[in-house]
């Protein structure tokens, strides 16, 4: 089994889905000849040609709006937005049309499209290149929102997204694009959308995260374990919409404590939703309030201050200790 990074795993998923289904089309800015600015679509144009790997004009709304039309007409477009910070012109198309074409037409027309985009900080990039605004999409009925944490997940979840009958917004953690390698089976596989994964079992406290933060949380869990402070259960949420409250609730019922970690701003971040869900489903099992470790309610700072914004393992360790002390 090959060890791949996230970039290679996404590329492989796209390649395999395109091999399997001639209706799968990749489109976006610089995805063809250039292979994408992160090289995620490297080599696809050579294999599938410019009719199926389309370099588009610089127009995010146009890319998603056109993908909606393609999907209505029977294709399975996979659109790339170069950075999630540039998706906002296309937000209207996602919210006003992709998310509701099925409802509007009572199922006569549907939008089986995937919109992929790198998100999150830690890459020392320019303004607008470090955002983590997944909650904006998880709030929209009709969209699915998926965030893989590692190469194995990236491949399986992306394959599932491409095959899904509904529009999926697929956030790829730019910070760990090349930083994490895992075993990735060469054969085609999918991972179910809407299912969380218990990464590490534990008795004392449940810590939830998605994307690049899963790695941070695993580090924190190891530290707490080696210190003998706490036996942490780590849940990789994987899918914000649909959200797997069954797995999450079962874990918190067991541990009685929960900490949610995300690098997005705190207010109205998805941690707030998880916290509310746990109040509704597990309040009598909670031994302490659900705590959040998040980015600030600020604009993500540029490179010099970036490390102060990103939740790190220490912040997670402190939150777990605070939960245990309560």
């Amino acid at each position: 089994m090959a060890r791949l990074n996230v970039v290679e795993a996404v590329d492989q998923a796209l390649r395999q889905e395109m091999e399997l289904d001639p209706d799968v089309i990749v489109l976006g800015e610089d995805v063809g000849r250039n292979g994408g600015v992160f090289r995620v679509t490297e080599g696809l144009i050579d294999r599938f040609g410019p009719e199926r790997v389309i370099d588009t004009p610089l127009a995010e709304s146009g890319i998603v709006g056109m993908a909606i039309g393609m999907a209505i007409a029977g294709y399975r477009p996979v659109a790339e937005i170069q950075f999630s910070g540039f998706v906002y012109p296309a937000y209207d198309q996602l919210v006003s049309h992709a998310a509701r074409m099925r409802t509007r037409s009572r199922g006569e027309f549907t939008c089986p499209l995937t919109v992929r985009m790198p998100y999150g900080g830690g890459i020392r990039a320019l303004e607008h290149h470090s955002e983590s605004m997944e909650a904006l999409f998880a709030h929209v009925p009709g969209l699915k929102v998926v965030v893989p944490a590692d190469p194995y997940e990236a491949k399986g979840l992306l394959a599932a997204a491409v095959r899904d009958p509904d529009p999926v917004v697929f956030f790829e953690p730019a910070r760990v694009y090349r930083a994490i390698k895992t075993d990735v089976p060469e054969e085609v596989y999918t991972l179910p959308l809407g299912k969380a994964r218990v990464v590490r079992e534990g008795r004392d406290v449940t810590v939830l995260a998605w994307g690049a933060q899963v790695r941070t949380v695993k580090e924190a869990a190891q530290q707490l374990d080696s210190e003998g402070t706490a036996d942490v259960e780590v849940i990789d949420v994987r899918s914000l919409s649909p959200f797997d409250f069954e797995t999450v609730t079962a874990s918190v019922v067991k541990t009685g404590r929960a900490v949610v970690v995300h690098e997005a701003p705190r207010t109205c971040g998805f941690g707030a939703e998880i916290s509310a869900q746990l109040m509704e489903r597990a309040v009598l099992h909670l031994k302490s309030p659900v705590l959040r470790v998040t980015g600030f309610d600020t604009i993500p700072p540029l490179a010099k201050l970036e490390d102060h914004y990103q939740p790190d393992a220490n912040a997670v360790v402190e939150a777990v200790k605070a939960s245990l002390r309560f």
Partner: protein, 359 residues
Amino acid sequence: MPVTTLASYTIERVEVLRTDGTVDEALMPGLSAEQITGLYGHMVLTRQFDDRMFKLQRQGRLGTFPRVTGQEGAHMGAAFALRPDDWLVPAFRETGALLLRGLGMSQLLQYWGGDERGAAFPASLRTLPISIPVGTHMLHAVGIAWAMKQKGERVAVLTIFGEGATSEGDFNEAMNMAAVFEVPVVFLCQNNQYAISLPYGRQTAAATVAQKAVAYGMPGVQVDGNDVFAVYRVVAEALERARSGGGPTLIEAHTYRVTDHTTSDDARRYRSEEEVQEWRERDPIERLALYMKQAGLLDEEKETQMRVDADERVALAVADFEAIPPPGMEEIFAHVYAEITPALAEQKAESVSRLAGRG
């Protein structure tokens, strides 16, 4: 340093049917007597339907809707040029085009009556549902046109929008991408001079909508939108060019919204009755009737009869519409995703039990 001209352009306006009912024979499209009578019949039906819908709305039997009276020449002349396997991607002021595509009046009443099951336009009609956000749906037409080209289907996509939509950013993206990808799409702008209250001159400083095509590298042409022959001719040509690989076209149908924007609007607040009256005199249906009478296709008696027949059909559709049982609450959850999510299943169960408790 020499100064050279890199581009120059002219914009043509096409008129075929004069207000006195005579036509420019050289430009007259090749329509049979039967086709002309059929088109006229649909236009009369649309007018009577629009009138009746307005009355229903004022009686509280129908929700807010946009009238199409006076614009039948523009959107119906265009839709009449479509073949069944072409696509129509409409905005919201195209009732006549939807009827031409084979949608039932009772279904449209159901939609404007607030029952979303009315928007279930059968996929086989290749007609997208009504799109309320202004100027965003043209991109879907470009995507569909790309798909048709990729599949090798020799068909075209017609998308219709108003001049207000040309100020939206997605108009730029749709026009640009259609031209870059050379896809078979025809952009039909019903320039009815007003976007709610804003007149054309405040929407754009361009003398015509048609000339905007030049910047994108596609043909642009203006037609008299109240001249159904001119609209049909120009749209039919553009559709055929698109089907045969010639790429997109922008057509500006120059017309006028003689009614309010919607039944919730009062256009007297922002324009004069004299201006409206001027345009009423250029009515597309009356103009066509004049031609047909001169060509021996219509007389007073037949004209009246067709209107009576249309009223009867409308009355039947209204009766059908009012007999439709109201939608069940479960419809809210029915089509959000292909498969209901756990969260939605919970919310549905909650609301069902709340409803049962109330009963």
